[in-house]
């Protein structure tokens, strides 16, 4: 497989008051261009730490990450992050939130009019153009998350990193956003790494599901390929044998991990 994003032998230690804490140990993963990968695992297993290392927000203690032939060692718009609680600036309108990123990233590359069109285009991609003058506190949680996604897409990232983006949303809103995300992924061919707690979500969206063993010194326990054809429809998948099988595998893994925490699956 041609690795676009490669995590090799990554480990990380944090200095805490009670000494060093090893959160991750020898994490290895290769992700192809355009692939949709989800990380799933119990709380505190280091999923977010992996994502933060990919984003460059944390530095790995050993090992490293290579994206498109370059080493990752600091945050960059190449690796845009969608945060769980949307992280929009509450004093800026939806449009201005996206503009802040666009102005910074495309300064000197795009004219004012081009920037405006680009912002509009991205707001349309996530179907939020009608609310562009609203402030974050005036729109619903689902809409805020759409704006968060628009802001990231507007950065034209090589990899879209998503940290439990739909974790705080109700089931119906979540379903809408998942559909939007699948649509965007198939149209733009973006490479996505997403953290989730939701087994159905993982199976529905992913090409591969990376299941993480429990921390401390967490690592990758098992990787599951999801061979479902795209475009996927949640209604048709509901009674597809392949879907149910994949779902069963992930649940089994998580259940075993819960029963025997700390053991690394073969």
């Amino acid at each position: 497989m041609q690795a676009y994003l490669e995590i090799s032998n990554v480990g990380i230690e944090f200095n805490t008051e009670s000494g060093t804490f090893r959160a991750l140990q020898s994490v290895n993963l290769k992700i192809a261009k355009g692939e949709f990968v989800t990380l799933i695992g119990h709380s505190g297993c280091g999923k977010s730490t992996v994502l933060n290392i990919l984003a460059g927000l944390h530095q790995a203690t050993e090992g490293g990450v290579i994206l498109d032939g370059k080493e990752v060692n600091s945050p960059s718009p190449d690796r845009a992050v969608v945060f769980q609680n949307h992280a929009l600036l509450p004093w800026l309108s939806v449009y201005d939130n996206v503009e802040l990123a666009v102005k910074q990233i495309f300064r000197g590359q795009k004219s004012k009019a081009e920037m405006h069109d680009w912002i509009q285009h991205n707001l349309e991609l996530v179907h939020i153009e009608h609310a562009s003058s609203k402030r974050p506190h005036e729109i619903s949680g689902g809409m805020k998350q759409r704006v968060g996604i628009a802001r990231c897409l507007a950065m034209q990232p090589k990899v879209l990193l998503m940290d439990e983006p739909f974790g705080a949303l109700d089931a119906l809103t979540k379903a809408h956003l998942q559909d939007s995300l699948m649509e965007i992924h198939s149209n733009l061919g973006t490479t996505v790494v997403m953290i989730t707690h939701d087994v159905d979500e993982a199976v529905l969206l992913s090409d591969r599901i990376v299941m993480m063993s429990n921390g401390p010194a967490a690592s990758i326990g098992e990787i599951l390929e999801v061979p479902l054809a795209r475009p996927r429809s949640r209604l048709e998948l509901a009674d597809s044998a392949q879907f149910l099988q994949a779902r069963q595998r992930v649940l089994q893994f998580l259940y075993d991990k819960h029963k025997y925490p700390g053991t690394v699956a073969a």
Binding site: A55, L57, P75, S76, P77, R79, A80, V81, F83, N85, A87, L89, P90, W91, L100, A101, Q104, I105, R135, H137, M155
Partner: protein, 332 residues
């Protein structure tokens, strides 16, 4: 009886049948009437108590005497204004006469040096507190921002802040007076020395709430927002202007409101002790004056000080509400 009443069709009325008072009017009427009752009860208790207290300066003033003195002080102000107008009119007339006798006569208008009235003292106090407050803010907000941004700077400055924060204005005053007379030596000073002394004393005392609140505001920016800024690689100054300061605005304004309230309290004490013009001096003068009206006049000053403090706070609250992006929190 008119026909319309007997007709089967009911007469059309010019008013609505079911007249309902809007809820917000009901609410505010209710709260106003309660406030009114509160004030009334207070005034009655006050008058009742005051009638039974005799001091060496006569009976302690109740609301009736205070209202009397408000009228007196206001008419004194009117008389003084008239005297001032007359003073200039006399000079104009005299100058005109001199010029008529000798076209080359050296004429000049002398400034009016009448006694400052109560209204003048209020104005002076307001100017002084504004000036002191503005000086304090020019120091406090940048200082707080620096402390909030840099842990080492904060650790270095924090002990000094904590040391000076509890110091009373009266302790600063002699030092400030001497400093001002030593350093503020202009040929034709824009401000009077006493004014500068009061303003600097106010500034020294109302600095701290803003410094502390700005520090907290700047250092407690949401971690996710900082990460956003890192991901889009905002340069330091844009990060400060677009992320840190807006995020700290609500706390900065909380600090400024506390500062202004402190400044106003400090000012009265400073004026009283330093004999700088203003409401504090008015009170001290009345106290020294020792007439039978003095206590009532001081009571007027007390009420005016309270009222102005209230207005200043409401003004700051309005500004705070306007600039705060966090419209969900109720500001009181």
């Amino acid at each position: 009886m008119s026909n319309s009443v007997e007709s089967t069709e009911p007469p059309r009325k010019w008013y609505r049948d079911t007249w309902q008072v809007p809820a917000f009017i009901k609410r505010s009427l209710r709260s106003w009437s309660l406030s009114f009752v509160g004030i009334l009860v207070f005034a009655l208790l006050w008058q009742g108590t005051a009638n039974n207290i005799d001091t060496s300066l006569g009976q302690f003033p109740g609301p009736v005497q205070v209202v009397e003195q408000i009228q007196n002080l206001y008419s004194e102000y009117g008389r003084e204004q008239q005297r001032r107008v007359d003073f200039f009119a006399r000079q104009e007339a005299r100058n005109a006469q001199m010029l008529a006798e000798d076209p080359n006569a050296d004429v000049r208008i002398r400034p009016y040096t009448g006694r400052p009235t109560f209204v003048d003292q209020i104005q002076t106090s307001l100017w002084t507190v504004s000036f002191g407050f503005v000086i304090a803010m020019f120091v406090a907000i940048p200082l707080g921002a620096v402390c909030g941004l840099s842990e080492p700077v904060y650790n270095a400055i924090n002990p000094i802040i904590q040391l000076f924060k509890p110091v009373s204005p009266l302790a600063w005053l002699p030092l400030v007076t001497m400093l001002v007379s030593a350093l503020y030596v202009a040929e034709d000073p824009l401000f009077e020395k006493s004014f500068v002394t009061s303003a600097i004393t106010v500034a020294l005392c109302c600095l701290w709430p803003t410094v502390i609140n700005t520090t907290v505001g700047v250092s407690s920016v949401d971690k996710d927002l900082i990460n956003v800024s890192r991901v889009i690689r905002l340069p330091a100054h844009t990060h400060l202007l677009k992320i840190v300061l807006p995020s700290a605005i609500p706390l900065i304004f909380t600090g400024m409101r506390l500062s202004l309230a402190t400044g106003w309290m400090v000012l009265i004490a400073a004026e009283m002790l330093a004999q700088n013009p203003g409401l504090g001096k008015f009170i001290w003068d009345e106290f020294q004056n020792g007439s039978s009206d003095s206590l009532s006049r001081i009571m007027v000053a007390v009420l005016v000080i309270g009222f102005i403090g209230l207005i200043l706070d409401k003004l700051m609250l309005a500004v705070q509400r306007y600039v705060s992006w966090d419209k969900q929190t109720v500001l009181r």
